[in-house]
Symmetry: C3
Subunit: 140 residues, 3 copies
């Protein structure tokens, strides 16, 4: 068993859901050396998150943004943590609903994703800035 680890800094992205599968594979060529294993992608922030979903139709990503804005409202008067802006506390909640990491099986040097699956960076802040990922892959 081998293990590889690499930090990856993503350029700032606008609020919403963004496909980053290709960027990860490009940044982490060690995946190709693993015949059977796992890759973890971890985001080192509490107001952005990661998920796996449909990689083809961009309206799916738009509907994700619409849905999560309805499900986690801004400016709820019951929020106590409100001094960092209307988008801040909802961003924390969305981050935990979606999660701070995804784990993808590796088979024969490639992500063993379904044909419609891709990795989303979920940017929940209006101006989130750069986002730091930690990529870790292990296997034989």
């Amino acid at each position: 068993m081998n293990i590889f680890q690499k930090a990856l800094l993503l350029n700032p992205k606008k609020r919403g859901f963004h496909l980053i599968t290709a960027e990860i594979l490009h940044a982490f060529p060690q995946i190709r050396e693993i015949k059977a294993g796992i890759c973890q992608i971890f985001i080192q922030h509490t107001s952005a998150s990661l998920t796996i979903n449909e990689n083809a139709d961009p309206t799916v990503r738009k509907d994700f943004e619409m849905f999560f804005n309805k499900a986690v409202p801004e400016d709820d008067p019951d929020y106590q943590h409100d001094y960092e802006g209307s988008d801040d506390m909802p961003a924390h909640l969305k981050a935990s609903l979606l999660g701070s990491s995804v784990m993808i099986p590796i088979k024969n040097g490639k992500f063993a994703l379904g044909i419609w699956q891709g990795v989303y960076l979920c940017e929940h802040r209006d101006f989130g800035g750069e986002r730091s990922l930690m990529l870790t892959a292990w296997g034989e």
Copy 2:
């Protein structure tokens, strides 16, 4: 450390939440060879998902179906991705709320689950068809 990997195709299941713990253990006997490790169960689809929850009372699984149908409504006029049917966009959203994988510790050749925990296949489509899982386990 050893690593094992196996694809598992599940028969079509009706929309709802289904216990699949026994089916996974049966399909993946290599788990018994691991004294301390982890098993990942990954679903290669974007309209079905996996979670861990109560394994005894079937009404819990019925309440899951009821709750997620309320929390993620069908036919929201704000959906842009609506041409694959009323159940399609909600299925994508439910899949990301619940997640595309579960990770279970292995101890002495068995899943180190709590006594009430089981693995659910969460089928979010009306006619989802067969579902492909990738099982990966590693440890000593």
Copy 3:
């Protein structure tokens, strides 16, 4: 590659969200022996969960409790599984929304968390009692 595994029993905590990062690091010093790896924290229950979020302002954890109580109501007359109390079925649903494990990269013997990230124990029951975790870490 090495793998370490340890059970950890947490004292009863009141309903809500609690930072447990320091308690985990204290209980599992083997993390310091790993230069590059992963730690999984798994909770062996279906009415409590784990997530990663903001580690500084305690009002964030209060807002988590407020939000999840609104998002997953008690005493919905549509619940069929209602004989264990008003907090029971909502606890199962919250546990699956948040998840039963978190996976944290390890770098140079430390959790490679962002500076604002901490591990939350999410206690969804009014009287949840002690909670059993299984800690597993692997790497080189």
